[in-house]
């Protein structure tokens, strides 16, 4: 039984996200060899490297490399742990966060300059939020900034871009549940915007609408997709 009058639905990008990243892989292949060496040293012996430089290098790359921006949280967390264990310090974390804060403050200009960089920035901030836990809890300091980014992505001008909608739903899949726990009210407000966008927004591509519908159902199902919904969105449609 076909779903939509015989016209196959476009497969959402979400399918790609379901893969598990391997444990040891920090996805640093996109760095040049010298920098890779620096990062590997930072992981093993953080006290011996310039941690400000390391954090700078990581942030710079995250803004350029989409794949890395989605995975950089893990290497950051490992360096933070390694530094803390080695000498009780938090130099890397502080430098990372403050640099991130600078980029966050400049996000509107970044968005104007390059959608790709903006999307990378959001992915990176959310990835850091996901991985850099403090005493097993997400960092309070990032809750509002993350919401600010997501709200920006839910604005009409952003919903028109598939790239931005894709980024938005990716983040909600990964950290939506955690974010909601930290601040329910803002999540409710965000989803009002998404509902409105889905229903009323002109200029939304059909893929854009599909992505929005999926995330609306996802949250309505307590951040899980029912089996039937899973089939609807992620299976190839067969006639």
């Amino acid at each position: 039984m076909s779903v939509c009058a015989g016209v196959p639905l476009p497969k959402p990008c979400v399918l790609k996200r379901m893969e598990d990243s391997s444990k040891e892989d920090y996805k640093i292949h996109s760095f040049d060899m010298e920098t890779q060496k620096l990062l590997k040293t930072a992981l093993k012996d953080p006290g011996s490297v310039d941690l400000e430089k390391v954090s700078s290098v990581i942030v710079d790359q995250s803004l350029k490399d989409q794949m890395f921006s989605k995975e950089a949280g893990r290497i950051c967390f490992t360096i933070v742990q390694a530094e803390s264990k080695q000498n009780g310090g938090s130099v890397f974390r502080r430098n990372l966060l403050n640099r991130l804060q600078q980029e966050f403050k400049a996000r509107e200009e970044t968005r104007k300059r390059s959608t790709q960089e903006w999307v990378c920035l959001v992915s990176f901030i959310c990835n850091i939020f996901d991985y850099l836990k403090v005493n097993n809890m997400p960092m309070m300091a990032l809750v509002h900034p993350v919401y600010d980014c997501l709200f920006r992505l839910a604005q009409p001008d952003a919903l028109k871009n598939e790239e931005e909608v894709d980024c938005l739903v990716l983040q909600l899949h990964r950290i939506g549940e955690q974010l909601e726990k930290m601040n329910l009210q803002r999540m409710d407000e965000l989803f009002c915007l998404l509902r409105d966008g889905f229903l009323l927004q002109d200029g939304l591509s059909s893929l854009g609408r599909l992505l929005l519908l999926e995330i609306l159902e996802f949250r309505a199902g307590s951040w899980m997709l029912s089996e039937t919904a899973q089939k609807y969105y992620y299976s190839e449609v067969t006639d």
């Binding site: 009780g88 938090s90 502080r94 403050n98 991130l100 804060q101 403090v134 005493n135 309070m140 300091a141």
Partner: protein
């Protein structure tokens, strides 16, 4: 008296390092500007931290909306550090509460637990320090002491079960009720004791290893011979109740006699 007063002012600049110099200014003077004596120590509760007559803005404050002390945020790095310290303190508090309820604090432990001159413990369960801003300030001071090579070497050399009271330094218990002055003194003494485990000296590094603030707080009796030359003691009570007198001493000594202080 004017002389003592000026010493006390001097104290606020030199004695209290790590940004707490302004605290001592309000500790030494009441709201009416009168210098407090040591008899009024009992009045110096931890609540003076949050009184409004401070000359500078607090590092943290509590609003009705906030769950606890909210830091005056400068940047994400600071904010996360603050949150981390706060969750650590809260977790410690849960643990401490459980330990008290489990009756882990025996009479013996209470006797040996205070290295300080102050013996006002709060044995009754439920009577311990719960003010988060106080706990966090104390934790910060403890962290400074623990974040040293000396402490690392100490804990490696002397496992907890081999520690002898009086001989081995013991971290002050941040949950016990102490006056501000008493607590700060305990911290100073603890840090001084820890210096016994400083790494072996090389190339005169020991000058940097010693914190001037601590030298000034050294029990006067140790420096008796030196200061009798430089600054005659007026009474025996001077030594412990007005530690800042030694700061003037050290200033005089600085050029020549610092070595002697360190060695003492």
């Amino acid at each position: 008296d004017i002389f003592i007063e000026s010493l006390l002012n001097f104290d606020s600049e030199y004695i209290w390092n790590k940004g707490s110099s302004r605290w001592s200014q309000c500790r030494k003077r009441g709201a009416d500007g009168v210098v407090r004596g040591s008899q009024k120590e009992a009045e110096l509760t931890n609540n003076t931290d949050r009184k409004g007559n401070r000359p500078h803005r607090p590092n943290s404050f509590t609003t009705p909306e906030s769950e606890g002390p909210v830091s005056r945020i400068r940047d994400w790095g600071d904010e996360v550090e603050f949150d981390e310290m706060r969750t650590n303190v809260r977790r410690d508090m849960q643990r401490y509460r459980r330990r008290i309820l489990a009756g882990e604090f025996t009479q013996r432990e209470r006797k040996t637990s205070s290295d300080s001159k102050d013996s006002r413990d709060s044995p009754a369960p439920g009577e311990f320090e719960t003010d988060e801003s106080v706990l966090m300030r104390r934790q910060k001071q403890i962290n400074y002491g623990k974040n040293t090579l000396a402490y690392d070497r100490y804990i490696k050399e002397v496992p907890k079960h081999l520690r002898q009271p009086g001989v081995h330094p013991r971290t002050p218990n941040k949950f016990k009720k102490y006056s501000r002055r008493s607590w700060d003194q305990q911290i100073k003494l603890w840090k001084v004791k820890l210096h016994a485990w400083d790494p072996p000296t090389e190339e005169g590094n020991d000058l940097q290893a010693i914190d001037l603030g601590e030298i000034m707080e050294l029990d006067f009796d140790m420096e008796a011979s030196v200061d009798e030359l430089q600054y005659p003691k007026t009474s025996s009570s001077v030594s412990s109740s007005l530690p800042q007198v030694s700061c003037l001493n050290v200033k005089i000594l600085e050029s020549v006699d610092l070595w002697i202080c360190i060695l003492l």
